[in-house]
């Protein structure tokens, strides 16, 4: 009897949940619920094989590696993760789950092997794609692991250098040229100009 009451209550609560969902729809603007977070964290943990988790970075850190990884990150990763790893970009904020602030423990507590695996193989049910072929020996990916470990060391000058390397759409390039012409004294069309979409 008690089991039946529990079941009916559960179905009723689920019905209310379904009604709310149908009435409001789904959006990636809202943060994941606690249940979704637990499910996703479990999936992320399961995503990385034990051996891969224990892998260590075979690429020695050097100023050259630091510079190369900054340029690589600015070109391939910053659209979602932001140059400073905060995830505070239009794309990063709109993802579900949103791009993490990689300077924080959620990312920094992962092993080098985990970070490498995630970059190489991506993460299911997130916006993180697989960037590599899946092998364990992609030096560029290991350099990115060094970069992630040093996010808090980035200087304002380095962030500006990275900003110059961020991908731009043809529209954004045109916009920048128009800005330069305007600042130099030429008359150019319209303002304000949306920077996004």
């Amino acid at each position: 009897m008690r089991r039946a009451i529990f079941f009916v209550a559960l179905v009723a609560v689920a019905g209310v949940g379904l009604w709310i969902a149908r009435a409001n729809g789904f959006s990636t603007r809202t943060p994941p619920t606690a249940v979704e977070r637990v499910v996703m964290q479990g999936l992320h943990w399961l995503s990385v094989p034990r051996d891969a988790r224990a892998a260590t970075n075979p690429v020695a850190f050097s100023p050259e590696v630091w510079a190369q990884s900054r340029a690589h990150f600015a070109d391939h990763c910053a659209s979602c993760h932001a140059n400073d790893g905060s995830g505070n970009t239009e794309l990063g904020r709109g993802l579900f789950p949103r791009a993490p602030d990689m300077r924080l423990a959620q990312t920094q507590d992962k092993t080098d092997g985990e970070l490498y695996w995630i970059i190489e193989n991506g993460l299911r049910l997130t916006g993180m794609p697989a960037w590599g072929a899946g092998g364990g020996d992609d030096a560029d990916t290991w350099k990115l692991v060094h970069f992630i470990r040093r996010l808090k060391e980035l200087t304002p000058e380095q962030l500006k250098e990275m900003a110059a390397l961020n991908p731009r759409s043809p529209g954004e390039i045109e916009e920048e040229k128009a800005d330069e012409r305007f600042l130099a004294g030429e008359d150019v069309e319209s303002s304000p100009v949306p920077h996004h979409h």
Binding site: V35, E90, G94, D179, G185, S190, S191
Partner: protein, 99 residues
């Protein structure tokens, strides 16, 4: 039974989420007023827009890091503002308009 419970849990999780956007805008114009708290810009269509200045506002003059003191009435500026916001993130200062 387990499958049913999983489906119910998923519906609850996603349904709750359903209960609960964004880039930078670009403002291009000529400075008509400037103070420590805000700048007012006249746009190409002759309307004006006032944007607040905060400790986080950055300045750039002739492509180099600048200061609020570089912003003067009559200067051409390009200002980055958060979408739907009114706080200047970056003010790029150009030349005064040709007379």
């Amino acid at each position: 039974m387990k499958q049913l419970l999983s489906i119910i849990a998923l519906v609850l999780a996603v349904g709750a989420g359903a209960l609960a956007h964004n880039g930078n805008d670009h403002v291009r114009g000529t400075i008509t007023q400037v103070s420590a708290q805000s700048v007012t810009v006249q746009l190409a269509d002759k309307t004006t827009k006032t944007l607040s200045i905060s400790a986080k506002t950055e300045f750039e003059s002739s492509g180099k890091p600048g200061h609020l003191a570089d912003v003067k009435v009559g200067d051409r500026v390009v200002i980055d503002v958060p979408e739907h916001g009114s706080s200047a993130l970056l003010i790029k200062v150009g030349t005064a308009p040709k007379k």
